[in-house]
């Protein structure tokens, strides 16, 4: 029998062409394309990671999602609802105008004025009720309620140039897009013009050839030293195979998210591969509304077995997380015991549930389901790494304890619609904590469904525990970090103790690049051009 490794895979391409990176030019293959150059158009990580090279926010997160100063040098909460930001005074925009507090006010004012936004950034600034410039480089923000996450929220709001966009010199802030002195606010398509798309970032916007390439150029007067690359070309190569082939052929110098099964080959060809645990948890969620009839489930007694915590625990214990991480994820995943990988903010270091099918069977018997039951497992098939295969593996594992699982895998758009319509009794999905702290998954996945308050928005299973809710709400109003962390830990522990949600694994994000490059892998899964360096 022929061994797979005996096939000279792409040998002809790769052998001749691990090219020396042209010293000044960088070309990166991305999994998806930004949908606009306007950083306020679409709240989407594929946009943010690209646009934060051109535009910079006041605060930023480092590779492990710790908050760091960027255009703001420091900030503090002067009372529960007032924040004071000191801004850098040595920064100029790409068009040469200096950066001031007026630009920040313009930026925040524009957010609700963006038309046609499919997912608005208002989410991140709606807590702000007032903004005033004390002087050109000092800014006061006030919120209606205490909001400890304000400095984290604004990481996704990079600063635009008021002048380039036609705003006045003295803008007065008012919530809901009622600011004064804004002038004629350019809409998102206007940003295709490099005269409008003016930021303070290390690279300037050159041109965008949709579907093919986005070109950036070095900003020579960048405040934090000269950027490494003369020009940067970002190529969207959405299919996995061709993206890998482009790297191996030398068309691009670096790619994000190579398929896990191709990693050994990429390394074998002399390329460098780096990876990092991400903030994305893959989890199982279950229909737990005692009032409603559960969809897609049939049990001998006609009840919804998932209402019983013992059944939920049995499901967790029946899953061999190590096997999934090793066999399906090729080692690029880490079995999860929490909703965020420790030691990120709000984690408690809880142990991963063991693989114990015997105990799982006992628990099922105790709950009165010794003959098992039948349940549908919904999953996307193109959203998370190997999602459909994980779902099938879980179905296999649950079959071992007598639970019959019908996997219903579909494209992400259908999956999300159906999940939000409560079509599934059991489903597999993922959650990336953009803020890098526990409040993010707790608020959306675990808190009781309360869309008006923005709580439990992705909790269609209707898990509900008022004690957990209370802790989350309290944490969200607690400015003291240590105190907030312990509240979050407590809430998470309660929810996991009763198996309101079952963590499976943390995704590991992979980047592959020419050996002449280096990249510090990031928890937030971003591919930030400004952080791609020549290897030492």
């Amino acid at each position: 029998m022929m061994r797979a490794s005996a096939i000279p895979i792409l040998a002809g391409l790769a052998a001749a062409t691990v090219p020396p990176v042209a010293a000044q030019d960088l070309s990166v293959g991305l999994k998806s394309e930004a949908t606009s150059i306007d950083p306020q158009y679409h709240s989407l990580s594929t946009n943010n990671q690209v646009l934060q090279t051109i535009f910079e926010p006041l605060t930023s997160q480092n590779a492990v999602q710790e908050l760091e100063p960027l255009l703001a040098t420091s900030w503090e909460a002067t009372d529960d609802t007032t924040w004071r930001f000191e801004l850098r005074d040595d920064v100029t925009f790409h068009d040469g105008t200096p950066f001031t507090a007026n630009d920040v006010i313009y930026t925040f004012c524009r957010v609700p004025m963006v038309q046609n936004s499919p997912s608005s950034f208002t989410l991140y600034m709606s807590s702000i009720t007032s903004m005033t410039a004390e002087d050109d480089h000092t800014l006061i923000m006030e919120t209606a309620e205490p909001n400890p996450l304000l400095p984290t929220d604004i990481v996704v709001l990079p600063i635009l140039s008021a002048k380039a966009l036609g705003g006045g010199d003295d803008i007065t802030f008012a919530p809901n897009g009622e600011c004064e002195g804004m002038g004629d606010v350019p809409q998102s398509p206007a940003f295709n013009d490099p005269e409008i798309a003016v930021g303070t970032g290390p690279y300037t916007f050159e041109s965008w050839n949709r579907g093919n390439s986005l070109t950036l150029a070095r900003y020579d007067d960048y405040w934090d030293g000269t950027p490494d690359w003369e020009t940067v070309t970002l190529r969207p190569i959405t299919s996995d195979g061709p993206r890998v082939a482009s790297l191996l052929a030398g068309d691009v110098d670096m790619i994000e998210n190579p398929p896990i099964q191709d990693v050994p080959r990429i390394e074998g060809e002399g390329f460098k591969v780096v990876s990092s645990l991400s903030n994305r948890i893959i989890y199982l969620h279950m229909f737990q509304d005692p009032e409603a009839e559960a969809p897609g489930i049939s049990s001998p007694n006609g009840e919804n077995p998932l209402l019983d915590p013992r059944v939920r625990e049995a499901i967790s214990l029946s899953i061999n997380r190590e096997a999934i991480a090793e066999r399906i994820m090729g080692g690029y995943a880490e079995p999860a015991g929490e909703l965020l990988p420790p030691p990120m903010f709000g984690t408690s270091g809880r142990d991963v549930d063991p693989y114990d099918p015997e105990r799982a069977k006992e628990l099922l018997a105790e709950a009165g389901y010794e003959d098992g039951f039948t349940v549908t497992l919904g999953a996307p098939n193109d959203r998370y790494i190997n999602d459909e295969q994980i779902a099938q593996a879980i179905a296999q594992m649950l079959a071992q304890i007598g639970v019959t699982v019908n996997v219903d895998a579909m494209t992400a758009s259908q999956f999300f619609s159906r999940r939000n319509n409560q079509d599934f009794p059991l489903w597999l999905a993922g959650w990336g904590a953009a803020s890098g702290e526990m409040s993010s998954p707790l608020r959306s996945l675990v808190a009781s469904w309360n869309p008006e308050a923005g709580l439990g928005t992705t909790n269609p299973g209707r898990y509900s525990n008022s004690e957990v809710d209370g802790l989350i709400v309290e944490a969200m109003a607690t400015l003291d970090d240590a105190e907030r962390e312990s509240l979050l830990q407590e809430a998470e522990t309660i929810a996991l103790d009763e198996y309101g949600i079952i963590p499976l694994h943390y995704e590991v994000t992979v980047w592959a690049m020419a050996p002449e490059l280096s990249y510090e892998p990031r928890r937030d899964q971003y591919t930030l051009v400004s952080e791609i360096k020549p290897a030492e």
Partner: protein, 325 residues
Amino acid sequence: MIVYLIRRFGQSVLSIAAMAVLVFLGVYAIGNPIDVLINPEATQAEIAATTARLGLDRPLYEQFGIFVWNALHGDLGNSFVYGRPAVDIILDRLPATMELAFVALILSVGLGVPLGVWAGLRPDSIAGRTIMGGSILGFSLPNFWQGMLLILIFAVLLGWLPAGGRGETTEFLGMRVSFLTLDGLSHLILPAINLALFKMSLIIRLARANTREVCLQDYVKFARAKGLSGRRVVLVHILKNIMIPVVTIIGLELGSMVAFAIVTETVFAWPGMGKLLIDSINLLDRPVIVAYLMLTVLIIVTINFVVDVIYSLLDPRIGLSEMKG
């Protein structure tokens, strides 16, 4: 004739209108785009605001009314995902698809006719049989499977050509094209062959049958018997005979070429309209899906109309019936 043209034109317009209703209602029946587009942390108020911004809160008939009104003004709506006119987005991708289809067309005619003629001249030779066998394969193998084999052989095993993507492009007559650079060309070869294979098989069969028919005719036999350069006579007659059906095929199959490009573009990650359609279906970007379908309907109906008119001009006897039977 004029009456016929007017009636025929009226029918075309009716077909387009019927398709518009079907396409719109159909596409608007799938999923909720908000679920896909919006940040999952969004509150109810933000979801409602976005729904209103995209016009999804209006009743269906109102959305349809707005769609028709705008469509009559040449506006097929803004993409939910890109916030730009859907037509612009499709036109951005059009050159890639047209380049692919055009090169595939040249390949299928440029190779299909000579191969078919050869097979027709020597139907019992090894070459003739091989060509016919190959055309049966090209005819019967699913397009995507041919594409995968091409990738496996030329990209994975031999490593001669890239597995997908479009490569370097240059500006040509105001469009971005691949065929002018070596890199672009190397990316173009496999997908173009893949798209060409099916049509090529059709043309080979057509050319072969015509050639055989011509060979049996008296004047050709006579010419050959006289020892004239039989080959030349045959070729001239054959080419004359073949060109009309070949041109017809090209006309009628342009639409299906664009449709089949969906498969080829998916297999080879070619950034054309077909790939855009699949991506848009996955993202529920309704305006782009509708615009793509409406444009395709428009193209196909127009081609059919033109073909019908030309036919009726060429051969009044065909009259108004059974032209494509």
